[in-house]
């Protein structure tokens, strides 16, 4: 039903099993963080990997989704599922504005418009009173799912996060492997040809931009409920850089690559936290190595070696 090939089916089952088993061995809060970033990276990949649009401002959607989910959960007492959906909707709405403005340009110019717009969003979030400035929105309650099930325990929250992640992942997979997704790939390979075939490519680009932004907002909203906090970190342009790194490391245009990238970057961040500035250095070195030696990313290279599509 999700258009899985055999390979994808097996890979998905492996991933699903890992998601189910992992919290019994690893620290669930760490896993939740990784899942949120994995979903964020998948959303980013939808845009850069499948349409070839390299956005430099995706933190805006992730961060805004986080702020809106946190705000509605804390101030308006929304149930967690409603708060997360509201966060996703906020991401999508912002994405509509960004997309409408930026898809008129391509390549580096597209990237620069998204960068500039995200700088403005950062400015807005720093100024607006509802975001709590640099303290952020703190002590956001996880609340009760559907008003019934308390998410206070990490395991309960983990179940919600993994459902959100799997839902987002399958949604992206479905989009990519639909007729709509075929048109996207045609645009990526040769936009003038897609236009000449009668596709209104800008409409397609805008829709996929909004979808990508919405899923990024979904990830951001979920993350803010997990940690009970939404801050400027998630709208800052360093976050846009981080999601590019995850996607690049895992493999742009591979469906599982961004997940792998998020796991790796998340682990590095976690285990090198005591190393201070060496963390930034490590990040930089990974960037350089990726670009120099495996531009297709870990999974992209693996897939190419094994002649698989992953």
């Amino acid at each position: 039903m999700f258009g899985f090939t055999r390979q994808h089916g097996i890979a998905f089952l492996v991933m699903f099993a890992a998601v189910v088993i992992a919290p019994f061995f690893l620290y669930p809060v760490f896993l939740m963080k990784v899942l949120c970033f994995a979903l964020f990276a998948c959303a980013y990949n939808l845009l850069i990997g499948y349409v070839g649009l390299g956005s430099f401002g995706h933190a805006a959607f992730f961060g805004m989704g986080g702020y809106i989910a946190a705000y509605t959960a804390k101030k308006w007492g929304f149930n967690p599922e409603i708060a997360i959906i509201t966060g996703a909707a906020a991401g999508a709405a912002l994405g509509a504005v960004f997309g409408w403005l930026s898809i008129r340009r391509q390549g580096i110019y597209f990237a620069m418009i998204t960068l500039a717009l995200s700088q403005m969003v950062y400015f807005f979030c720093n100024q607006a009173s509802f975001t709590g400035g640099e303290d952020g929105i703190q002590q956001v309650p996880r609340g009760n799912l559907f008003g019934l099930i308390s998410l206070q325990s990490d395991m309960a929250m983990y179940v919600v996060v993994s459902v959100v992640f799997l839902f987002g992942f399958l949604l992206i997979h479905r989009i990519v492997h639909s007729p709509f997704g075929q048109v996207l790939k045609a645009i990526r390979e040769n936009e003038p040809r897609a236009t000449s075939l009668g596709y209104r490519t800008n409409d397609y680009k805008l829709i996929v931009f909004i979808l990508s932004a919405g899923i990024a907002g979904l990830a951001g909203g979920t993350k803010s409920l997990v940690f009970g906090i939404a801050t400027l970190t998630d709208v800052a342009n360093a976050m846009s850089g981080e999601v590019i790194l995850m996607t690049l490391l895992g493999g742009m245009g591979t469906i599982f690559g961004p997940v792998l990238g998020a796991i790796m970057i998340g682990s590095i961040e976690n285990y090198l936290a005591q190393l201070g500035a060496w963390f930034a250095v490590t990040q930089g070195v990974i960037f350089v190595l990726c670009i120099m030696f495996f531009r297709r990313g870990l999974l992209g290279e693996l897939a190419a070696r094994l002649k698989l599509s992953l």
Binding site: E134, G136, I229, T233, Q274, L275, A280
Partner: protein, 405 residues
């Protein structure tokens, strides 16, 4: 910097090794959560870790029948990173108490986690007075200073000394505005006037000359710098360049900032700290002991505060009995800490209030002229002292929920 990361790791290994050899002894695990690589790394950072270590050495834990293990991590000044590290330490790594704990945003986030997990937390580097005000909780102490203390000392005392008209250069975020508001109210209480303020983008401002000239045009006697780190440094450097006549009031300036600017540029600046190495015999003795471990840098108040808080924590642990102490929840541990008066070489005698505020005197300093300085790190002369009972915000004004009205 003499304090290299390799040195730190080696030191961690050194404290960890005897522990594994004598695993049956009770061990307290202190997590120092700090900024190891960002804009505040010289204000807290590696030297704060070193100060914590010195407290352990000075207390002589090994002779007292228990061990102390220190773990460190970098919160990158991001509240969400700080909160998730804190969670992990409390949940999974068996950390008994988190110390230092960073700038305002991180401090509030970690305090929320401490409350959630009922674990102990003592902040030293954070500025926000909300930590013992509306956001206070039973698991958290605020040790070294806060915005109220800075505002009262720098704002109030400077007005008394004749600096009765002010213009603020305010970093455009919550901290900058809060500091401006607090200092402004002390200035007005003291009979001074606030002539104006300008909000500067944060981050992203390098050139402050435009704002300094606006300040000068206002005719104010004092320009209050409601910002921190590189912003403050740029302001001071450029004020000197443009020959600004007004006195600069540094609202959050630390010894390391003065060190990095040099006296040539910095002299005349007025600022507040609760500790200075050359204040009295006890601070000098402390600083000599620290110098043996870290010869290149002298501690500022936030770093020295880590020594003070760690020493107090160990004293109480020893008094109560480490086994019992370790088994207690965060709120109980903090309650025990509050009961015992504090006394150490850094802050002298003091105490901890029910709202979690550790109190001691605050000092208004002026940075010396190069000709007055006898050598490296001889930077401050004392202008005035605010005594312990007046240095911090009265409990009743803080609206801390722990305090029954």
């Amino acid at each position: 910097m003499s304090l290299t990361r390799r040195g730190l790791l080696a030191a961690t290994a050194a404290t960890a090794a005897p522990f594994s050899a004598r695993a049956q002894r009770p061990t307290l695990k202190i997590g120092v959560l700090t900024d190891l690589a960002g804009v505040y790394q010289d204000i807290v950072g590696p030297l704060a870790v070193e100060c914590t270590r010195l407290a352990i050495a000075d207390f002589g834990v090994s002779a007292k029948g228990f061990d102390v293990e220190i773990v460190t991590a970098d919160h990158q000044n991001k509240p969400d990173i700080g909160a998730s590290l804190a969670r992990q330490w409390y949940d999974r790594d068996g950390v008994d108490i988190i110390m230092e704990g960073g700038s305002s945003g991180v401090a509030l986030a970690v305090a929320a986690v401490a409350k959630d997990k009922n674990k102990a937390y003592i902040n030293s580097g954070g500025a926000t007075s909300d930590l013992t005000g509306t956001m206070c909780n039973a698991q958290t102490l605020h040790w070294t200073y806060d915005t109220y203390m800075l505002a009262k000392s720098t704002g109030g005392a400077m007005v008394k000394a004749g600096g009765d008209s002010w213009f603020f250069i305010t970093a455009d975020y919550a901290f900058g505005h809060a500091l401006t508001r607090d200092v402004g109210s002390f200035v007005e209480q003291g009979g001074g006037k606030v002539l104006g303020k300008v909000a500067t983008p944060f981050p992203g401002t390098t050139d402050f000359s435009a704002f300094l000239l606006q300040a000068q045009a206002s005719g104010a006697k004092v320009i209050g710098l409601a910002n921190a780190g590189a912003d403050t440094i740029n302001c001071i450097k450029q004020a000197r360049e443009f020959g600004i006549k007004a006195t600069l009031g540094g609202l959050l300036v630390f010894l390391s900032d003065v060190h990095s600017l040099g006296l040539e540029v910095c002299n005349g600046l007025v600022l507040t700290e609760s500790f200075y190495w050359d204040l009295n015999d006890r601070t000098r003795a402390f600083s000599e002991r620290l110098k043996a471990k870290s010869p290149a840098r002298r501690a500022g108040m936030a770093q020295a505060g880590c020594y003070s808080s760690a020493l107090h924590y160990l004293k109480v642990a020893n008094d109560v009995g480490v086994g019992k102490f370790k088994a207690a929840g965060g709120a109980d541990v903090i309650e025990m800490l509050k009961k015992m008066p504090t006394d150490d070489d850094v802050f002298g005698a003091g105490s901890i209030r029910p709202d979690g505020r550790a109190i001691h005197p605050s000092y208004l300093f002026q940075v010396k002229k190069p000709s007055e300085s006898k050598g490296p790190w001889d930077y401050y002369k004392l202008l005035s002292t605010t005594p312990t009972d007046q240095a911090f915000r009265p409990i009743a004004d803080g609206r801390c929920p722990l305090i029954k009205a």
